[in-house]
Symmetry: C2
Amino acid sequence: MLQAYYARGMEEPAVFEFFVRRLPAKRNFLVAAGLEQTVEFLENLRFDETAIAWLASIGRFEPAFLDRLARFRFNGDVEAVPEGTVCFANEPLLRVTASLPEAQLVESRLINLVHFQTVIASKAARSVLAAGPRMLVDFGFRRAHGAEAGVLAARAAYLAGFTGTATVEAGRRFGIPVYGTMAHSFVQTHFDETAAFRHFIECFPENNTLLIDTYDTLEGARKVVALAQGLRPAGIRIGAVRIDSGDVDELSRVVRRILDEGGCRDTKIFVSGSLDETIVASLVEGGAPVDGFGVGTNLDASVDEPVLDCAYKLQEYAGRATRKLSTGKETWPGRKQIERHRDRDGRLRRDDVVLEDDRIHGERLLAPAMRAGRRSSSLPTLAEARERAQRELAALPVALRSVTGQGQYEVRISPSIRELAESIAVQPVERSRS
Amino acid sequence: MLQAYYARGMEEPAVFEFFVRRLPAKRNFLVAAGLEQTVEFLENLRFDETAIAWLASIGRFEPAFLDRLARFRFNGDVEAVPEGTVCFANEPLLRVTASLPEAQLVESRLINLVHFQTVIASKAARSVLAAGPRMLVDFGFRRAHGAEAGVLAARAAYLAGFTGTATVEAGRRFGIPVYGTMAHSFVQTHFDETAAFRHFIECFPENNTLLIDTYDTLEGARKVVALAQGLRPAGIRIGAVRIDSGDVDELSRVVRRILDEGGCRDTKIFVSGSLDETIVASLVEGGAPVDGFGVGTNLDASVDEPVLDCAYKLQEYAGRATRKLSTGKETWPGRKQIERHRDRDGRLRRDDVVLEDDRIHGERLLAPAMRAGRRSSSLPTLAEARERAQRELAALPVALRSVTGQGQYEVRISPSIRELAESIAVQPVERSRS
């Protein structure tokens, strides 16, 4: 396609928007994420000599086109909803305005980046709502879909409000707090469970968490109590125990009693093992004495809803609005903006999707992210995005906060967009630009 | 954990095995994949100066430990089921034998690599069974979970029998056939559909595929016929049309008739758009005149079953068999082998999971993949793995071939393993090595 565009000189400005067509059944809202990596990608996109040589070797492309690719840079503009913003279906989360080849070439990787982190942040936010003030640690690297997925899932989860991650590389790359964990193999290689616990505490006299379910969870808890009594004179305490299997609701209560009766009232209980937000919610609502959760597979692969029905679609080319009419995949044309309306106490009330040039009274969600290929100085840091997510989750309508129920939120398509769409019912028309 | 192991000199040989605990509801079998990338990872694992400096900066590790990490190399052995092998729950797909720190450190990334490609190859194999001889192209990069996932999904799908991929990078890295595609935006930017088709054919006079559903699929097909009639004198033909939306069963039949009646009998019909193996199967079984399928999102994120319940577990340390007894996650101890039994016509009949040292009469599935940190010369190429998958899929019992029905396959745990497990019911015991 790119070769065809360059050959024909089709390099007029094109406007593409990324949006989600409909929310998955188990999502009441989305949390926008992935903009930082998208901007990095657009800033650094190059075809190096090796890439050009390989493309030449396959014999499908003309030399003039490969010369263009070698000089390719993304020089366009990007508007986007800031990371950490709560958003909904039919809302443009990101808009690219660039010459047609530039806006087109970036499509696949742009979707790949924005889609995945938005999937994970939206999933993670549900655990955040369910856990309240309790600790939440991402444990999911191993079953994430590849290394990039594992590292970016840790980022998206932290952005949505997780406390930290067990993925060290995410700590190095993004400064996310890293939490170490003891594996069952550590207990097994010591052959004696108490010996394993003692060894671990010697290495980590502070902030240690002992995994107590390798053989028998309640026995494990009793061994912890005995060990703690021996260590108390030396001023060493056991930070937490972890339960990774079984009926954690019941086990956490009995373990709590064993710890309390053994004088370990300040030893916390951390649970993990196939958790998701519905289990977290039911433990919290049921009053299980759990202080923190390790959420892994279900988070990093977003197992219940692993993808969003999203698209990056052409809305305008060379100043003319355009529209795709494929059955079930019709698009709303034009350059759009989201106008958010809130209640007096700041809670989200309704969003209007409007044309960028319409008069707007509420809050505008799309903000500049890149100008002429360079990042805007106003792009939020990860810490700022995380704060925004916390504010936005606190401002969610009550009906959207439940991790089990389905809540609706009103997103209105403005009359101006509907009129524009009707005017290009079958073939696109010239749009007078104001 | 590693710091603790090194501090205590716990560097005896450890044996870990990777296995799947149970098959997902919608999978009758798995196709092993990801070994090549795992071996590459193990061969190249290093902590460079930047990594060591960062680890030092966080202040949790002792200098002696960081020195060890700087010299860290994986020097162990790996046995594995060759890529492309059909396999089942409770079967060890990969075994690492190495010093405890080496075998432990690699856990997360090893699972991350073997798990993901096995997920995708197992999903892709179902479309391969459903499509028969028809073309299957991976279209899923954009909704894969990150770039690595997109590229490795293309590899795993090709390994399982897909014809090729739309992900160019997978073509460059693995030599997988790449198939280009025309997007709706290409049609939209030309404002006139026929003009877009003509422009595309000028650029690609051979092997072109025209996307006909941007506005109205049947109108699109009629425009293709008119265009083809004009091009015929010049000896140019239209290779295929693509339908990406609507009722593709019905549309493909009408489009076929329009093409045939318009003299385009040799123009093929390619369909895409939210396809998965059940839709492919129903189109094929219903006799829809479809020559090829583009399968995207549902493949690359394995949407119906995005993860496997898998583990990498310690089976033996310092010559002693060990066993985890956590509720619902008990493991079978010892170094294991898979013995496959076939019918006289080569069809899979039953697998026995046995101890490596047991006498075996059937086929052994686990073969050497690494020795002392170096890859075995016998590791299959991607082409060989793909051929193996084709042979294995052809040898599947009929009950396992359906993409809608559930079939059972017998995997027996040998008496020798059961005896060993009982002997270490609560605490591990010394195992006499034969």
